[in-house]
Structures are given as structure tokens and as C-alpha cells.
Amino acid sequence: MADTSALTLKEDPSIFKIIYGNKGLMTGLVILAVLTLIALFGPIFTESPTSINPMIRIKPPSADMWFGTDPLGRDIFARSIWGGRISLSVGVAVAVVAVGFGLVLGLLAGYIRVLDAIIMRVMDGLMAIPGILLAIALISLTGATLFTVIVAITIPEIPRVVRLVRSVVLTVREEAYVEAAIAAGTKLPSIMIRHILPNTIAPLIVQATYVCASAMLTESILGFLGAGIPPEIPSWGNIMSEGRTYFQLCPWIIFFPGVALGVTVMSVNIVGDGLRDTLDPRIAKKM
């Protein structure tokens, strides 16, 4: 029974096979890819989203104008496709920035005890302020531009990322293999890079998708409330905000961008769930 006699080699299925095997993840990725392509190249083929044509005011959806027109005669289809660009850019930008800041702060909090107390108190405070209110206040003070909107949406998203990274660091640093590395005389920066950072990547990718989805929703809500991106830019939230007044008259102004937004956010969420389940089942618990 010598257990050294033969090395049993288990073959790992490749990461692509795993992704391909997860139906939900595949569906989400395909929808998201299609939406991204439309957002990128769609505007080339559509009318100008801002061209006003009083001849075609308040037309319901038809074969010519798929999504109908608004009281100024603007084509809702063209506007919706433009809105996709804005939404996806805001989502991705917020996700990248929030994860970046969150990672740095989380690593610091997880490894340096003095900083931990300070960072986590600030994060607790940030979490206590309702995100949308904070964003509204920030935007109304600084004036609404695409940049300030992104910043205002990012700030309330940071604490969750910090908490996630910190919890991963605190768990992993107790692992025996990290202690073994310490015992082997490995320096702290190397321990961070070799042993701890890789463990944060999978949960962070997943968290990034959730932040992205949530940022797109927040952006639309801000626009809808009239506190978001400047109204002349046709973001989904802005289109719907304009549609409020005429809702009983032409509900399609809200309906189509709303569905587009819902589908986009949902595909991002599905991708997030799929990644969570495939990348590492163990992290599922932490979210």
C-alpha cells in the first residue's frame, strides 16, 4: 500500500470548458456581448438621437420607428441605443475604479492593524449613508457632468469591495501555507503578491460585475430623478425622466429604455452569478 508507488494525476478541465459548461454564464455572456456590440456600433446605423422632427411627434412604435417617438419627435430607438453606450461606460468605469480603490484599501486594512481601525470606521460611516442620497448630494454640489456622476456613484460602492478584500485577506493569512511561507523567510510584499493577492482575484471579478450592475441602475435612477448626467445627453435615465410627464400619453418612452436597461443589468448580474459559481464555489458564501 505504498502511497508513493503511483502518482494519480487528475486532469483539470480548462477554464473555457467550465465556462462553456455553465449555461447561465454562457447565456449572460452572449447577451452582454450582443448588447455591447450594439452600444459600440449601433449609433452608426441609427438616426441622430437628438434630431428634432415636429412632423413625427408622439408616434407609437411602428415598423418605421421601432420604439416610437417622443413629443419632440425624436426617435426613441436611436436614443435608446445611445443610452446603452452611456450606461455601459458608466457601469464599467465605476466597477474598475471602485474595485481598484477597494483592493488597495482592503489589503491595507487586512494587513496593517493600525490602518484597519481607521479605514473600517470610515467605511462603516460611508455604508451608513444611503448611496443614492450621497450621490445626489455630491452631484448637486459639484454640478452634473459625466465625470462627477461616475465619481458620485463610485464612492458609495467602495465600502463593500473593501470589506470583501479585507475578509479574504484575514481568512487567507491564517492559512497554513501562508504560515509556511512566513516560516520560510518570505518577505511581506512577496507573501501579499504570491499567496494573498491571487485569492482576491476571483471574488473581485465577481464583485466587479455586481458593482457594474448596481452602478448602471444608480445612474438611471439619478437621471430619472433629474439629478444625474446633464439632460441633453440621452442616457436611459434621462430619456425616461423626460417620459414621466407624458407617461399616460406615450408610455413607450419609458417602457423601451426601461426594458433595455433591465436586460443589460440582468445580463451583467447573470454573468456575475455564473462567474461566482464557476470561479470558486467557496467564495459564493461571502457574497
Binding site: 460611516g125 451608513a128 443614492i132 442620497l133 445626489i136 448630494a137 441602475l217 435612477i221 408610455p251 447573470i270
Partner: protein, 313 residues
């Protein structure tokens, strides 16, 4: 008892951080409240006058000191426009929001916990898949879009419910209250139900793998009672925690829902303040909502000791 005091004291630093934050946003941000209030055609003297009136001309540390003294006495400041106390404004608008939030929470718990538990028990089945799809969809649909879809179906097409508005159960009939609150509460609770049912599912799935569930089966206990007596009590802590944390989420939802359904509550107060750039009201409301959040989470923290006897601080 000792723990209770300690835990209550522990909320003070968080409140201080919140207050500091709000202070910094308003005073140190790139925008100048005074010039915003004064409008585009104001002269430098006008702006300076407003500054002095609002106490913005004092040195920053003096302002901060005054700010904390004022907060400590329970004063959330005044409206820059109407000069009314923010606390007074809040008390005028509190009832609709409170009732909307309470209805939503009750609705959420009644729907989400059984739904999540069922999904966990039937993990992998079509019931589970349905709940999960519903939950992802619930997360993804913007509150106001859902609100308008409901209005379109139930108010405009079917004409079952009023399009908008609010009736107080104290001034008006209870039936009218229910009719008016139903759609807003459903609208607001969908995202919440999605979140809590998901959390319930995850938590119960985990608990169902525990050894004591196996022990209960080894006793011959029925699956229903295992869920009720063993799984749910053990799964409760994470569920309650998420319930508390998502209060922040709900406050955002309240603003939107009240705007869609034209409910004269705190959410509308926020929006009106933003549109009229009334920073006095905005900062007062942010503080108010944050303190509510901190207070609810304090209560939830304290409730852990009741839910789980192992938790002793």
C-alpha cells in the same frame, strides 16, 4: 447588559464619521452652496451676505465645532430657503414614508423568507430555478420602471388601483390607504424580496448541510419541521444582517417610489430639496437617514443574542 452599553457607545464613532463626511461634502466640496443659492445673477456682495447668514464665512474649525454642538443637541439644521427646522420638515413628512417602509418590510419578509427556504429545500429543482431567475430579474429592473409598468397594468388598463397619491389611514379610510399603498409597496419590495430570498436560500442551503440537520433526520423528524425548527433559526443571523444592511438600499428606493407615485413623504422632501438646491435640508436629511440606518443596525446587532445563544459579547 454591559454589551448593550458597549454596542451603543460603538455607534458614536460611526455617527461622527457620517457627520464629518456630510460636513466635508457641503463645505469642502468644489461647489459653493452660497453662490449656488444666490443664483447666476448674484453679485459678490450678495454671495458674501448669504455666506455670513449661513455661517459659511467662519473659519472651518469654528464651523465644525458649531456643527457638532448643534448635532449633539438633536438639531439637524435649517432649510436655506424657508428657514424651517429640518426636524420639523421631517416630522411633517414622516408618516407616509414610515408606513410605506413598514408595509414593504412586512411584505418582503412574508414573501421572501418562505420563497428562499423553499428554493433551498428544493435546491436544483425548477422551483429553485424559478426563484433564482425571479431574484436576478428583481435585482435588475429599475424601481421606477417597475413602478410605471404596474401603473400601466393595474391603474391605466385594469383600473383596479389609483394611479398615484397617498391616503392616510388616520385621516381617511383604511381601505383607501391600502388601495394607495399597495402598488408603491409592491414596487419597492420587489428588489428587496429578490435580495432577501436569495440570502435566505444561500443561508438555508448551507445550514441544511450541517450535521445537526442530519441528526434531526436521524430522529425521524419530518422535513417541514426540520426546516422550521432547525434550519431557519440557524439561518436567521445572515438573513437579518442583510435585512439591516439593505435599509440603505430601501431609502434610495423610497425616494424613487415616492416620486413615481407622488407620495408626499421624506423621499419627495429629498427630491424637492435637491431640485431647489436647499443644502440645509439635504444635509439634514442625509444625516437623518444615516442615523436611522445606524439605529436599525444597532437593534439588529442586539437581536443576535436572542437569535443565537452562542453570541455573547
Amino acid at each position: 447588559m454591559f454589551y448593550v452599553i458597549k454596542r451603543i457607545l460603538a455607534t458614536i464613532p460611526v455617527m461622527v464619521v457620517v457627520a464629518l463626511f456630510v460636513f466635508c461634502i457641503i463645505r469642502l466640496g468644489p461647489g459653493d452652496p452660497a453662490s449656488v443659492i444666490a443664483g447666476d445673477y448674484a453679485t459678490a456682495e450678495d454671495i458674501q451676505e448669504i455666506r455670513i447668514k449661513l455661517g459659511l464665512a467662519d473659519p472651518i474649525p469654528v464651523q465644525m465645532g458649531k456643527w457638532f454642538v448643534q448635532l449633539a443637541s438633536g438639531d439637524l439644521g435649517k432649510s436655506y430657503h424657508s428657514n424651517m427646522q429640518v426636524t420639523k420638515l421631517i416630522s411633517q413628512r414622516l408618516e407616509p414614508t414610515l408606513l410605506l417602509a413598514a408595509t414593504t418590510i412586512i411584505l418582503t419578509i412574508l414573501v421572501a423568507v418562505p420563497l428562499g427556504t423553499l428554493a433551498a429545500y428544493k435546491a436544483g429543482s425548477w422551483v429553485d430555478k424559478f426563484v433564482m431567475v425571479f431574484s436576478v430579474a428583481g435585482f435588475s429592473i429599475p424601481v421606477f420602471v417597475l413602478g410605471y409598468i404596474l401603473v400601466y397594468i393595474f391603474a391605466m388598463e385594469l383600473r383596479w388601483l389609483p394611479v398615484q397619491g397617498y391616503r392616510s389611514p388616520f385621516d381617511d379610510s383604511f381601505l383607501q390607504f391600502v388601495k394607495h399603498i399597495t402598488m408603491p409597496a409592491v414596487t419597492l419590495s420587489v428588489i428587496y424580496i429578490a435580495l432577501i430570498s436569495r440570502m435566505t436560500r444561500a443561508s438555508v442551503v448551507e445550514v441544511l448541510n450541517e450535521d445537526y440537520v442530519r441528526t434531526a433526520r436521524a430522529k425521524g423528524q419530518s422535513e417541514f419541521k426540520i426546516l422550521l425548527r432547525h434550519a431557519l433559526p440557524n439561518a436567521a443571523v445572515p438573513i437579518v444582517t442583510v435585512l439591516g444592511i439593505s435599509i440603505a438600499l430601501m431609502i434610495g428606493g423610497v425616494v424613487v417610489t415616492e416620486s413615481v407615485y407622488n407620495i408626499p413623504g421624506l423621499g419627495r422632501l429629498v427630491l424637492d430639496a435637491v431640485l431647489s438646491r436647499d443644502y440645509g435640508v439635504i444635509q439634514g436629511l442625509i444625516l437623518f437617514f444615516s442615523f436611522i440606518y445606524i439605529f436599525i443596525n444597532l437593534l439588529i446587532d442586539l437581536s443576535y443574542t436572542l437569535i443565537d445563544p452562542r453570541i455573547r459579547y
